[in-house]
């Protein structure tokens, strides 16, 4: 009897509110999905429904609108940003985590502060700069622009991750005759692989989702998926089936990656935030 009552209580106090919050959190996304599989003819008469599901909008998205190309561009930009962000930040993170040197605190804080600067502060000069260099509308420009977000972030993330690997390990390696760099390469780096993957995926998602840089520094040749989605809104104003299909496709890679690594990612992010 008591058990039954506490179960009822749990459902009322925990499950029910959780369902409500999840409805709020996922409702818009699910609604977007349902809209995207509703036939165009039905959309403005009976409204979105799953009764006569169709993939017509998705077919059109890839056949006529050319969404595949946009995905390739996004993939190149996001992949490039991951490579740049990780290469530059791994050694820096090692230095922050293993050495105490004058200026360490200042430099570490500097990487934190960079992440807080408004994007408008950087977007204007980068546009002028790339225009002078003739690099507007290239993958390179977008990779550099996204790196302004990725590098500071991954330095922090990797530093926090490496702090979790005992120093005694690299010291043992060095007593066995490894150089500092040898210890980094042979001992610390292999242990960091999970952290590197999580950081890399986070950079990928951020770069994939990025919009303002892509809009300003990209153009006709390099049009990423986010810009393509936004262009759809302008061009196919009321064709909500097509628009929502574009939204689903644009969000899919990032969402899947995120759900795959969310556990590790969140623990990394919160650890960084809790400890500073």
């Amino acid at each position: 009897m008591v058990a039954k009552r506490s179960l009822m209580r749990r459902i009322l106090v925990v499950d029910l509110p959780m369902v409500l919050i999840l409805t709020f959190a996922l409702g818009p996304y699910i609604w977007m999905f349902i809209t995207s599989i509703t036939p165009q003819s039905q959309l403005f008469t009976t409204g979105p429904s799953i009764a006569s599901a169709t993939i017509e909008h998705y077919v059109r998205l890839f056949r006529t609108v050319g969404f595949f190309n946009n995905m390739v561009h996004s993939f190149i930009v996001a992949g490039g940003t991951v490579v740049v962000g990780l290469t530059v930040s791994v050694t820096a993170a090692y230095a922050f985590s293993r050495f105490r040197f004058p200026g360490r605190r200042f430099l570490l804080l500097q990487f934190l502060v960079i992440n807080m600067f408004p994007i408008v502060l950087l977007i204007l000069p980068l546009f002028v700069l790339f225009r002078i260099l003739g690099l507007l509308d290239t993958h390179f420009a977008l990779i550099i622009a996204n790196s302004t977000i990725a590098i500071p972030f991954s330095v922090w993330m990797m530093t926090s991750y490496m702090n979790g690997i005992p120093k005694s390990l690299d010291e043992a390696a060095m007593t066995d005759g490894c150089s500092r760099l040898g210890a980094l390469w042979r001992v610390v780096l292999p242990l960091c692989v999970p952290g590197i993957i999580a950081t890399g995926i986070y950079i990928f998602i951020t770069a994939w989702n990025e919009y303002l840089y892509a809009l300003t520094l990209g153009g006709r040749n390099v049009r990423t998926i986010t810009v393509a989605v936004q262009t759809l809104i302008g061009e196919y104003e009321v064709e909500w089936g097509l628009l929502t299909a574009g939204g689903i496709v644009g969000a899919l890679p990032a969402t899947i990656l995120f759900l795959l690594v969310q556990r590790r990612l969140i623990s990394g992010l919160t650890r960084g935030a809790v400890k500073g």
Binding site: V120, I151, Y211
Partner: protein, 307 residues
């Protein structure tokens, strides 16, 4: 430092000491050089542009005008409108995200069978691209076919469809709701992590002493998460203040100036009017205002790095 660092392996003593001093700097230099050249130099350039009359389609007419752009901003009505909207924007969005995030975290901290699923799914809004978020909320808010109007009409809460984003009185608040939706999972996961670090024994001891649920929350939970709460609020404030992509896609600042915030105004000035001088000045003003919050945040964090 451990004793191993003092015993020089193979190399001479002097070389090792030098290496120990130079090596960290060498390891840092790629990151530092890259950030200096793609972040700090451009930032200085923004400051430089803000002191000039700099319109992109008149590249030969770049003239130094001192602080005139800043003086112009102070008498610019749109500047004050945008600033006011930025204040409303932060003051409503961040607390809304926090309260919703706190409630979510408290529920997620209870034991129930499908907790792992709920915890994974709650993050979804946070992982979506801003453009997609903007797109789907525009669809929800659609005055003719949007589900929100449909829903509210059926409940009888409104008598006819409201053009949420086209009405200057509701547009800003409609976007604030969107941003609350996007940001509350961040609070939820951060607060949840803090909740889980509070030892269960505290609650047990309090329960033995006869503390009510509410007293436990007030005297154990809240102090236990206060540090994280402050950090999260500061981080979110900075982030919410900066985020202009959702507004830009949803309304582009309109109708009229109804959804202009300061960074958006700077962006539109440069993008549409190609007035990079004035746009830069607005960006600089906004950054200086934001720095106040950043500095408070840094004070919090600097202590943590010290260790």
């Amino acid at each position: 430092m451990s004793p191993h660092d003092k015993t020089p392996p193979r190399k001479g003593r002097g070389g090792f000491a030098l290496g120990r001093r130079v090596l960290p700097l060498a390891l840092l230099s790629p990151a530092v050089l890259v950030t200096v050249s793609i972040i700090f130099v451009p930032m200085l350039q923004t400051a430089w542009m803000s002191l000039h009359e700099y319109v992109l389609f008149r590249p030969n007419a770049i003239t130094f005008i001192g602080l005139e752009n800043f003086a112009a901003a102070l008498t610019d009505e749109v500047f004050w409108i945008s600033l006011w909207h930025t204040v409303i924007w932060i003051a409503l969005t961040v607390p809304a995200q926090m309260v919703l995030g706190l409630v979510t975290a408290l529920i997620l901290n209870q034991a129930f069978p499908w907790r792992p699923v709920a915890r994974a799914l709650i993050i979804v809004p946070w992982a979506l691209p801003s453009v997609v978020i903007a797109l789907m909320w525009v669809w929800l808010y659609d005055p003719n076919y949007g589900i929100l109007n449909d829903f509210l009409l059926r409940l009888g809460l409104i008598s006819r469809s409201v053009p949420w984003l086209a009405d200057p009185d509701t547009a800003l608040y409609a976007i604030i709701l969107t941003l609350t939706w996007q940001g509350f999972p961040f609070f939820a996961v951060m607060i949840l992590a803090a909740l889980q670090s509070i030892p269960q024994s505290y609650y047990e001891a309090a329960a033995i002493d006869g503390a009510s649920r509410w007293q436990q929350f007030w005297h154990i939970t809240l102090p236990g998460i206060s540090g994280v709460l402050v950090t999260a609020v500061l981080l979110r404030t900075i982030w919410v203040a900066n985020s202009i992509d959702v507004i830009f896609v949803m309304t582009g600042g309109g109708p009229g100036y109804a959804t202009y915030t300061l960074p958006l105004y700077a962006f539109i000035k440069a993008r549409s009017n190609l007035d990079f001088g004035y746009g830069s000045a607005l960006a600089v003003i906004f950054t200086l205002l934001l720095m106040a919050i950043v500095i408070i945040y840094l004070r919090q964090t600097a202590k943590a790095i010290e260790r």
